[in-house]
C-alpha cells in the first residue's frame, strides 16, 4: 500500500514540489485517489452514436469499454473477463451487441451482463451468472454530450462537479445552431515520456504561447497580416479563471464581437457567404445577445479536472500511463447544422496547429520533455506557481480571475488535486483572495 504522504509538503499556495511529477508512489496514489473516486472523461456520445457501438477507453490506467446499448443507454464496462482476467475487447472501436472472451468463451452483453458460459456442467446448478457481470463504472454521466464515468458511486452529480465549467461548455456546444457537436471525424494521438500533469497545466497556460508558439504565430501574422502575439502580452485584456473544483479557463471572450468570423483560427479561411449564413442560423436560434456571447467565446482553452481539456475545436483526453509516460488523444469536432465549408475549415485549422505534425502542439510536448529532464535536478525542489497572486480578483460571474498569463488555472488544479489526494471532504472550497499588499 501507499506510504503516508504529507500533501502540505507537496502543494502550497504558490508552488508545487517536483516529487508530484517524478515519484511513482504519488502516481499510484493519483490513480487511486483521483481516478477511482472522481468523474473521469471517457469520450463524446457521438463516438458511440449507434446501438451496439463501442470504444475502448481508460480510467486512469485501467482498460474499459464505452458502449451504447439497444435502448440508447451508455455504459462503461471494465475490459476484464470475470473468469480468469483476460481483456474481452481488442478493437479500439467497433459495433457489437456482445463481447466474447476468446480464452474460454465467456460472453457478455454490451450492458456487461454475463450471458453465456460454455459447458456449464462444470459449474453446477447453483452457478449464478448475475454474480459475474463485468465490473462497471458505478456512475455514467453525460453533460451536453461529454461522457464521464466514475468508479465511485458516492461522487456528486456531474453538473455539480462541473461547477463553473458548464457555462463555458454550453457556449462551446452552442456554436452549433442545433446545440449539437459531432466527434466522429477521427482522433490525433501524441505522447511523451513525462508526467500527465504537464499536459493538464499547459492546456490552460496563457503565459507560454508567445515563446513556445512564436514560430507558428509569425506564420499566422504573415498570412493574416495580424500580430496574434498581442493576445498574450501584458497589455491583453483576456483573463485566466478558476471555475471551481479544479476546472479553469483562458477566457478570451471579452473583446469578441458577433460580426467576426467563426473563430480566431478560422479568420480568412471561410467565405463571407458561408460565414453570413452561419451567423444568420445562430441569430435565428439564439437571438442577438446569446449569439454575441457564443461567438465571443468561440476560441477556448478549458480545463476540466482531472483529465479533459477543451481547446480550439477539440476534446483532449489526457491519459496517464505511468509516472513518466503520458498519451494524449485529441478529438476534433464538427458542428451539426452548419455549412460544410465551416466544418472543413475547422479540420484544416485544427491540423495546422495540433497533432503530432502540427505547427504548435509538438512544441508544447517538447517543453514537457525538457521539464522531465530538468526535474532530474534534485537541488531545486519546487516549481513556482505564484504568477498573478498579486492581482487576483472576482469576475462578473464570481470566478477567481487574473491576467491571461497568470497561473490561476494551475493553482486551481492543484487545490483540487491536493483535496482529492489528501482524501478531504468532497465539497470544494472557493479559493481565497490574497489580502492586498500593504505599502
Amino acid at each position: 500500500m501507499q506510504p503516508q504522504i504529507n500533501f502540505d509538503d507537496l502543494v502550497q499556495e504558490h508552488r508545487v514540489h517536483r516529487n508530484i511529477y517524478v515519484e511513482p508512489a504519488i502516481f499510484d496514489a493519483e490513480m487511486e485517489r483521483i481516478f477511482e473516486h472522481n468523474w473521469v472523461y471517457v469520450g463524446h456520445e457521438t463516438e458511440v452514436a449507434e446501438s451496439g457501438d463501442y470504444k475502448m477507453v481508460r480510467i486512469g490506467t485501467q482498460p474499459a469499454i464505452m458502449t451504447r446499448d439497444e435502448d440508447g443507454g451508455i455504459h462503461v464496462l471494465m475490459n476484464r473477463c470475470m473468469h480468469r482476467g483476460a481483456t474481452i475487447c481488442q478493437d479500439e472501436r467497433g459495433n457489437s451487441s456482445y463481447f466474447r472472451c476468446w480464452y474460454h468463451g465467456w460472453t457478455y452483453s454490451n450492458r456487461g451482463d454475463l450471458i453465456g458460459v460454455p459447458y456449464p456442467g462444470g459449474y453446477g446448478k447453483d452457478f449464478d451468472k448475475s454474480r459475474f457481470g463485468l465490473v462497471k463504472a458505478a456512475r455514467v454521466g453525460n453533460y451536453r454530450g461529454l461522457v464521464f464515468a466514475s468508479l465511485d458511486p458516492s461522487v456528486e452529480e456531474l453538473e455539480d462537479h462541473l461547477a463553473g465549467a458548464s457555462y463555458f461548455i454550453d457556449l462551446f456546444m452552442d456554436l452549433s445552431p442545433e446545440g449539437r457537436i459531432d466527434a466522429r471525424c477521427g482522433t490525433h494521438k501524441y505522447g511523451y515520456d513525462g508526467n500527465w500533469k504537464f499536459q493538464m497545466e499547459n492546456g490552460v497556460d496563457g503565459y507560454h504561447p508567445n515563446f513556445v508558439h512564436q514560430s507558428f504565430f509569425e506564420g499566422q501574422g504573415k498570412k493574416f497580416g495580424r500580430k496574434v502575439m498581442k493576445l498574450f502580452t501584458d497589455a491583453a485584456t483576456y483573463e485566466s479563471k478558476d471555475l471551481g473544483n479544479g476546472h479553469s479557463i483562458l477566457d478570451m471572450a471579452p473583446t469578441r464581437r458577433v460580426n467576426r468570423p467563426v473563430a480566431n483560427i478560422l479568420r480568412g479561411a471561410v467565405s463571407q457567404a458561408a460565414n453570413d449564413a452561419y451567423v444568420r442560423m445562430l441569430l435565428d436560434r439564439y437571438g442577438e445577445d446569446r449569439t454575441a456571447e457564443i461567438l465571443g467565446a468561440s476560441n477556448v482553452n478549458i480545463g476540466v479536472f482531472p483529465n479533459l481539456l477543451i481547446i480550439g475545436i477539440q476534446f483532449r483526453n489526457v491519459i496517464p500511463v505511468n509516472t513518466s509516460r503520458t498519451d494524449v488523444h485529441l478529438t476534433p469536432t464538427t458542428l451539426v447544422g452548419v455549412p460544410d465549408e465551416i466544418n472543413v475549415a475547422r479540420l484544416r485549422a485544427h491540423e495546422a496547429f495540433y497533432g503530432p505534425a502540427g505547427g504548435g502542439a509538438p512544441d508544447d510536448v517538447e517543453m514537457f520533455n525538457r521539464c522531465t529532464e530538468g526535474l532530474r535536478v534534485k537541488g531545486a525542489e519546487w516549481l513556482e506557481l505564484s504568477r498573478g497572486l498579486n492581482r487576483e480578483h472576482r469576475d462578473g460571474r464570481g470566478n477567481l480571475a487574473a491576467h491571461i498569463s497568470d497561473e490561476v488555472p494551475q493553482r486551481a488544479f492543484y487545490r483540487m488535486w491536493k483535496q482529492r489526494m489528501a482524501g478531504e471532504q468532497r465539497a470544494s472550497e472557493p479559493a481565497r483572495l490574497r489580502p492586498a499588499a500593504r505599502s
Binding site: H188, Y190, G191, E351
Partner: protein
C-alpha cells in the same frame, strides 16, 4: 510529351529521399507542383475523406510553405535539435502511367534519431507525378504510415 518509366520514377524518389534526409526543404518544395496536396492520414488502413476526417497532415502548397518556413525559423522547438533521418525507398511501381502523368506507389522505412532516441517508421506512399516544363514533379503525395492511428510522439520532420 513524356511517359514515366520505373527507372526515372525511382531516381526521383531516391532524390526526394536524399533531399528530405538532408533537410533541404526549399529544394523539396521545388519538386512539387503549385496545386500539390501532401497528405498523411491517421485512419489506420481505412480510406477516408480528408474533408470529413482529420489527418496528421493535409497540406496544400501554401500550408507546406508555412511548414517549411517554421522549420527554417530556428524556433520550431520540436525540431530543435532537428531529427536526423535516413529513409530507404523501395517497391516502386508505376500503377497508372499515361502521357504527362503517372501514379506511382512505393514503400519506405525511415530511421529517425533525436535526443538520443531512435525510432523506425515504415509505410507506403501513393504519388501522382506530372510532367511540367522540363521535368516530372510531384502533384500529390499520400504517405500512409503503418502506425498512423497510434500514438506518435513527434512527427514534425517531413516524411
Amino acid at each position: 510529351m513524356a511517359s514515366l518509366d520505373r527507372s526515372t520514377a525511382e531516381n526521383i524518389l531516391f532524390e526526394e529521399a536524399r533531399i528530405l534526409d538532408g533537410r533541404r526543404y526549399r529544394e523539396w518544395l521545388d519538386m512539387l507542383t503549385r496545386d500539390v496536396i501532401y497528405w498523411l492520414p491517421c485512419s489506420g488502413e481505412e480510406d477516408t475523406d480528408p474533408n470529413r476526417r482529420v489527418s496528421i497532415v493535409y497540406d496544400d502548397a501554401e500550408r507546406l510553405l508555412r511548414r517549411v518556413e517554421r522549420l527554417e525559423s530556428g524556433m520550431a522547438h520540436a525540431q530543435s535539435p532537428p531529427s536526423r533521418t535516413r529513409r530507404i525507398v523501395s517497391n516502386v511501381q508505376i500503377i497508372n502511367g499515361r502521357e504527362g502523368e503517372a501514379d506511382v506507389n512505393s514503400a519506405f522505412i525511415l530511421y529517425e534519431l533525436r535526443h538520443g532516441k531512435e525510432r523506425i517508421f515504415a509505410g507506403g506512399c501513393e504519388y501522382r507525378f506530372r510532367f511540367e516544363g522540363e521535368r516530372w514533379k510531384v502533384a500529390f503525395k499520400k504517405a500512409i504510415l503503418v502506425n498512423n492511428d497510434e500514438v506518435i510522439d513527434n512527427l514534425t520532420f517531413i516524411v
